[in-house]
């Protein structure tokens, strides 16, 4: 799929996602949980256990029972997580222990839930990634064909655990101009040759074909080890400002950074 086609689909799908989130999820009545923090980025050494607490809040007025379990996950092309209950090859979930399999949280209450990761002493340098899933009680909804399907509300907390000093090693291998929400946007293709996930950051600037000086920042999507991803460079502007229409070509310069690395950046985008 070309970046432009993908982005055009993304606008429509994005609207669908937001409308699903905004509308009362009738089939998920009773599930209104939140987790804090929404993500863990931890580090440890081989043989050293890490214990953390995730707070699970029940936003409803009535007590709610949740099933809690771990899952493996991957990111799809849209940076959406695909969870897998089954143990993935090389999964580190056997190192993980959770406080309990089921909890009950009082209405408007919170539960401080503990989990622990114990990498063996002979664990090679790398990154352990898994998710903690919080699932509500299953409900049954009817499909268009009239069949009842068990459905549950669920949220996932992603855990990244760097072991033995694992780090990302990001390399830019290409550039493009693609439509992001209908707007031509500079994007860069980035490969992660490291052994931990990485996220781009940094201050970038450029002057477009009409002489407008713009500031950019790379979108902070995670790039997993061994993966290659397209990352948009987003225009930095004050809140409530009208959208910026970039006049291409534009040369963007600055420095890209990630945890454990940095590289100077100078690229021309557009015809």
């Amino acid at each position: 799929m070309s970046p432009s086609n993908g982005i055009a689909r993304a606008a429509a799908i994005g609207m669908t996602v937001l409308s699903v989130l905004a509308a009362p999820p009738a089939s998920a009545d009773g599930f209104a949980a939140a987790a804090s923090p929404p993500r863990f980025e931890l580090s440890t050494k081989p043989g050293a256990a890490v214990r953390e607490v995730v707070e699970i809040d029940n936003a409803t007025l009535t007590p709610a029972a949740y099933a809690i379990k771990t899952a493996d996950w991957t990111l799809d092309a849209n940076f959406g997580a695909i969870f897998s209950d089954a143990l993935a090859p090389g999964s580190c979930r056997p190192w993980v222990a959770v406080e309990r399999h089921e909890i009950t949280v009082q209405g408007k209450g919170a539960y401080r839930f503990r989990f622990e990761v114990s990498p063996p002493a002979d664990t090679p340098r790398g990154e352990c990634r898994f998710a903690i899933l919080v699932e509500g009680a299953p409900l049954t909804v009817k499909t268009k064909s009239g069949l009842g399907v068990p459905v549950s509300g669920r949220l996932g907390v992603i855990v990244y655990l760097e072991i033995g000093g694992a780090q990302a090693n990001l390399k830019m291998i290409g550039t493009a101009v693609a439509k992001v929400n209908g707007e031509p946007t500079p994007v860069i293709q980035v490969k992660n040759d490291g052994d931990a996930h990485g996220r781009l950051a940094g201050f970038l600037g450029g002057t477009d074909a009409h002489g407008a000086r713009l500031s950019f920042a790379p979108a902070t999507f995670p790039i997993l080890p061994g993966e290659t991803r397209y990352i948009p460079l987003v225009v930095d502007q004050p809140e409530n400002s009208p959208p910026v229409h970039i006049a291409f070509p534009i040369t963007i310069h600055g420095k890209l950074q990630w945890a454990g690395g940095a590289t100077p950046f100078l690229q021309r985008f557009g015809p």
Partner: protein
């Protein structure tokens, strides 16, 4: 390579993205097998709903379900649940929102000639009612010359027509229109009184205020007590919209027989007062507010029996658009200006301008202030300030700031700094220099905020100082650290310590330290104690003669203080929104009875039975069922017109309701409307 997630997220501001990520943590997923779903990770949280939809009814993986993995349990699943941060196991949600805090405090400060001791108890209680606003009680009982205080306040009590009312009785502050409170450059105080206050607000276009009582002062370290000054005070005012962007405000305050402050000195601090003070002050303003800018012209006139009357005029303007914020103004304030018996800025005229700019990398701000004494007895001069901070990258920032005071003598202060994230945490190196009338000072300061494990914090600071005061040179060193953290789950500490020493003619040394411990006792109880100690030794320059050196004994001072607080806190309840309204906005109710009108007169007679189990609809969408006597009730509905109707499906035959019993009524705040509905026999 797809772009769907990119495209959605790339159009969102970072903050909004984070919010959506938190909300998006919930998606519907099938309960079996592999599925795509949002996660707590902000990035993958915006996930195409299509993935979820296509997985409905299937395993999502397109194959046989994989074997279920069962997680290990910590300690075999026998860990006791952790308590919440407040020590409780979860909040109580039943009932209206309410809060209670009780505390007993004691403190003692011993500074040689200065000794202060305070003991007392305080209470704060708050209850958010459905229909009478928020009620709060604040009280303090304490020993010593300063008495206690007690106030009962009612906030945002709703009335029909868009009115909200604030009332207070007891030791309260006098009310003031918002144009008087929201000042950019000059502060106009609210005056404490033991009395009454009221404030009426109407949809942002009208505000009425009034208050009366005995004026006084609040004082205390941990608990605030009220001490009356004698006399009586009255104030009243209004603020109203006079156009789409314009507001005008007027407030007057007058006092008679105000005595001396219990804290010493007269109330005007301008010299010995002549008996009791009688005064009157009048404030007025005209304000304009647009999309990006605002401007306000203010006037204040005060007169009292202690000196000549005084007038003040000042103007403040602002323009905030995009990354640039600007403020400017001018002022002319005669000597002895006051608001009631409280002195305000006076004997000064001048102008100011301030501007700031902020982007990803730059923070720039600066300003110019010029003022001079109208009477010539006060200070005159101008002040120029400039501040710049530039982020070289995500880890490093550099900056400088300086001020130049155009007074006699003039003074210049300048600083350069560099901040950097390092392997130990976050550091900052700063160089300061100043010069005033030939006296110079230079200082090098290195601060580090150490990156420790979650729940622990430590900051250190070291500095070296060089001073030259008219040829007398002094060098010095200072070091300080502060930190805190959890010792156990229920016990935490905070503390700091600092030492400084200077050598030379003005030799001095000092040590200060404080340590605080907080123990959560459970059930909402907290015990905290803080100890503070300060020691210093100062030597003044000795006259030097070649024959008789005169040793000057060093001046030694020592002060210490102890603060102890035992606190109980409790909060519970949930706000309830009336049907068609929002919490706290006021509500009325509708109730009545659906009865079988045997005699057909339309009135419920004693022998006529109720129709049980019939659905009554409010506004066609909110249902309730009648009880065994045919009664129904909508206890909380927003003020305004509402329609009641009957769903006649469950009416016993041969009874029916004409036109579905539809009735439209207007419900007012705190009003209960009775609507009895007659079911008639089919003929």
């Amino acid at each position: 390579m797809g772009w769907r997630g990119d495209a959605v997220l790339a159009t969102l501001r970072p903050v909004r993205r984070a919010c959506i990520a938190a909300v998006a943590a919930l998606l519907l997923t099938t309960t079996a097998g592999q599925t795509a779903a949002a996660t707590g990770d902000p990035d993958p949280s915006i996930t195409p709903a299509a993935d979820t939809d296509t997985d409905f009814g299937g395993d999502g993986a397109g194959g046989a379900p994989a074997p279920q993995y069962v997680d290990h349990l910590i300690n075999g699943g026998k860990l006791a649940p952790l308590k919440n941060d407040d020590g409780s196991g979860g909040g109580v949600t039943s009932g209206l929102p309410r809060y209670l805090r009780l505390e007993a405090v004691g403190d003692r400060t011993d500074g040689g000639s200065l000794y202060h001791q305070e003991e007392g108890v305080g209470v704060q209680a708050r209850l958010e009612t459905e229909n009478f606003g928020a009620l709060s009680l604040d009280g303090v009982v304490r020993g010593g010359p300063i008495g206690g205080s007690l106030s009962l306040q009612q906030r945002k009590m709703p009335f029909d027509g868009g009115w909200l009312v604030n009332n207070g009785v007891g030791t309260v502050y006098t009310p003031a229109p918002s144009a008087m409170r929201n000042q950019y450059r000059f502060y106009l105080p609210n005056v404490p009184v033991a009395g009454l206050s009221t404030e009426w607000l109407h949809d942002g276009d009208l505000q009425l205020t009034a208050g009366v009582g005995a004026p006084g002062v609040f004082d205390g370290v941990l608990l605030s007590g009220f001490h009356p000054l004698g006399g009586v005070l009255a104030t009243a005012g209004a603020q109203t919209a006079i156009g789409p962007h314009w507001q005008a405000a007027l407030q007057v305050i007058g006092e008679r027989g105000v005595g001396q402050s219990a804290l010493g000195g007269d109330v005007f601090n301008t010299g010995p007062a002549f008996g009791q003070v009688n005064d009157v002050s009048l404030f007025g303003s005209l304000a304009w507010r647009g999309t990006y800018g605002k401007a306000q012209l203010n006037g204040l006139h005060s007169a009292n029996n202690q000196g000549p009357a005084a007038t003040g005029l000042w103007f403040d303007g602002a323009w905030n658009h995009g990354r640039i914020n600007q403020n400017w103004g001018a002022f002319w304030l005669q000597r002895n200006l006051s608001w009631g018996y409280v002195p305000v800025s006076s004997d000064s005229e001048g102008l100011y301008y301030r501007a700031s700019y902020q982007s990803q990398r730059w923070v720039l701000d600066g300003g110019f202030d010029a003022a001079r004494s109208i009477s010539g007895a006060g200070l005159s001069g101008a002040l120029v300030t400039a501040n710049v901070r530039y982020r070289l990258d995500l880890d490093t920032a550099v900056g400088a700031y300086g001020t130049y005071r155009l007074t006699s003598p003039g003074a210049l202060d300048a600083s350069l700094f560099v901040e950097r994230q390092n392997r130990f945490g976050s550091g900052r190196l700063q160089l300061d220099a100043s010069n005033q009338n030939g006296d110079t000072l230079g200082r090098v300061n290195l601060d580090e905020t150490w990156g420790l494990q979650v729940g622990m914090r430590l900051m250190t600071s070291v500095s070296a100082v060089f001073e030259d005061n008219a040829g007398v040179r002094t060098t010095g060193f200072a070091g300080a650290l502060s930190g805190g953290g959890e010792i156990t789950h229920s016990l935490s500490w905070d503390g700091s310590a600092g030492y400084q020493s200077t050598r030379g003619a003005w030799a001095a040394s000092g040590f200060t330290a404080d340590i605080g411990l907080t123990q959560r006792l459970g059930h909402g109880l907290t015990l905290s104690a803080t100890w503070f100690d300060n020691r210093s030794k100062t030597s003044t320059p000795s006259p030097i003669t070649p024959l008789i050196p005169i040793p000057a004994p060093p001046s030694v001072s020592h002060s210490s203080a102890v603060f102890v607080t035992l606190r109980y806190e409790f909060s519970a309840g949930t706000s309830i929104a009336p049907i068609g309204g929002r919490p706290g906005a006021g509500a009325g109710s509708i109730h009545g009875r659906l009865f079988l009108d045997a005699d057909g007169d339309g009135l419920p007679d004693a022998g006529e039975a109720g129709a049980a189990g019939v659905t009554i609809l409010l506004d066609g969408r909110y249902p309730v069922r009648t009880d065994e006597a045919g009664r129904y009730e909508f206890p909380l509905i927003a003020p305004g017109p509402h329609t009641i109707s009957v769903v006649p499906d469950n009416l016993p035959l041969p009874w029916t309701v004409a036109n579905d019993g539809r009735r439209t009524v207007t419900v007012y705040t705190r009003q209960t409307v009775t609507i009895d509905i007659a079911a008639t026999r089919l003929r």
